[in-house]
Symmetry: C2
Subunit: 141 residues, 2 copies
C-alpha cells in the first residue's frame, strides 16, 4: 500500500488509537477521535482532565514527543479484507492562545456531529505525521 | 469500571492493539488477534517475518518488555455507548521449545476459526498483564 492510499484510509476512519511513551519506555494507549489537515492530525481531550491518568498522553508528549497511531479493519469471517494503517510522528500540545488550536477545533467540529453539540473543553494535541504505512491482506504484505 | 468487567470486555473482543516501544521511546502499534489465559495474553505472528518492519514488536520487546494493549468500542451516532479497556503489562517472546508456546497456539486456534485452517507460523508473544483499566461513557469516567 502506498503512502497516499495509507493516508486516505486513515483519513476516512472515525476512530484511531494513539500510542505515546514516557521516558522509561512505558507505552500508553488511548482511542481518539481526530481530524487531519494535510499531514497534521488533531485530537482533543473531551473534558478538562480530572485525574492524573487522563493526562498521561499529555505528560508523555511533554517528555517524549514520539508517537504512533493506528487505524485497522477486522472481519472475523474474511481475513482477506483485513487492513491497517499506521502513522508515526511527533506530538505537541496546542496552547489555548494558539491560532492552530482554533483551526484544530473547527476541523474536529466539522467532522464529528457530536462535537457540535458539546465542543471538547480539554487540551488539543497536534501530531505532525512523518510516515504513513499500511498493509492490506488482499494486496499482500 | 472494575477490573473484572474491564478484563471481561477485553476478553470478548476479537481484535486488540498492541503498543511497544524501543529504548529511544519510539512507540510502535500493531493490530493483534489474541487469546487470554487468566492474566496472560497470547498473540502470534501469522507468517515468518520477512522484513525488519514486521519484527519491530519483537525487537522492541527484547529491548523493553513494557507494553500496552487496547480494545475500544466506537459508535458515531451514540457516544453514550463508547467504551475502552486498556491492559498494561510485560511481554516476552515464547521459544519454539517452550510448552507454553504450544498451549498459546491451542488457545489461539480454539478462538479463531481462520487459524485452524492456517496456523500461525511465526513467533508467539506472551504478555503478562499487570493492570486492567477501563472506561464506559454510560458508566461515567
Amino acid at each position: 500500500m502506498d503512502r497516499a492510499e495509507a493516508r486516505g484510509r486513515f483519513a476516512a476512519a472515525r476512530v484511531a488509537r494513539l500510542a505515546t511513551a514516557d521516558f522509561s519506555g512505558q507505552p500508553h494507549l488511548v482511542a481518539i477521535c481526530f481530524a487531519l489537515d494535510g499531514d497534521t492530525l488533531y485530537t482533543a481531550v473531551d473534558q478538562k482532565p480530572k485525574t492524573t491518568m487522563s493526562l498521561r498522553r499529555l505528560k508523555n508528549l511533554t517528555m517524549n514527543s514520539r508517537c504512533s497511531m493506528l487505524v485497522d479493519h477486522y472481519e472475523d469471517d474474511d481475513w482477506e479484507r483485513l487492513w491497517w494503517v499506521r502513522a508515526d510522528g511527533a506530538g505537541r500540545e496546542l496552547r489555548a492562545d494558539e491560532p492552530e488550536r482554533e483551526r484544530a477545533l473547527e476541523l474536529l467540529l466539522e467532522r464529528y456531529e457530536r462535537y457540535r453539540r458539546d465542543a471538547p473543553a480539554g487540551p488539543v494535541i497536534a501530531v505532525d505525521v512523518e510516515r504513513w504505512v499500511g498493509w492490506a491482506a488482499a494486496g499482500g504484505p
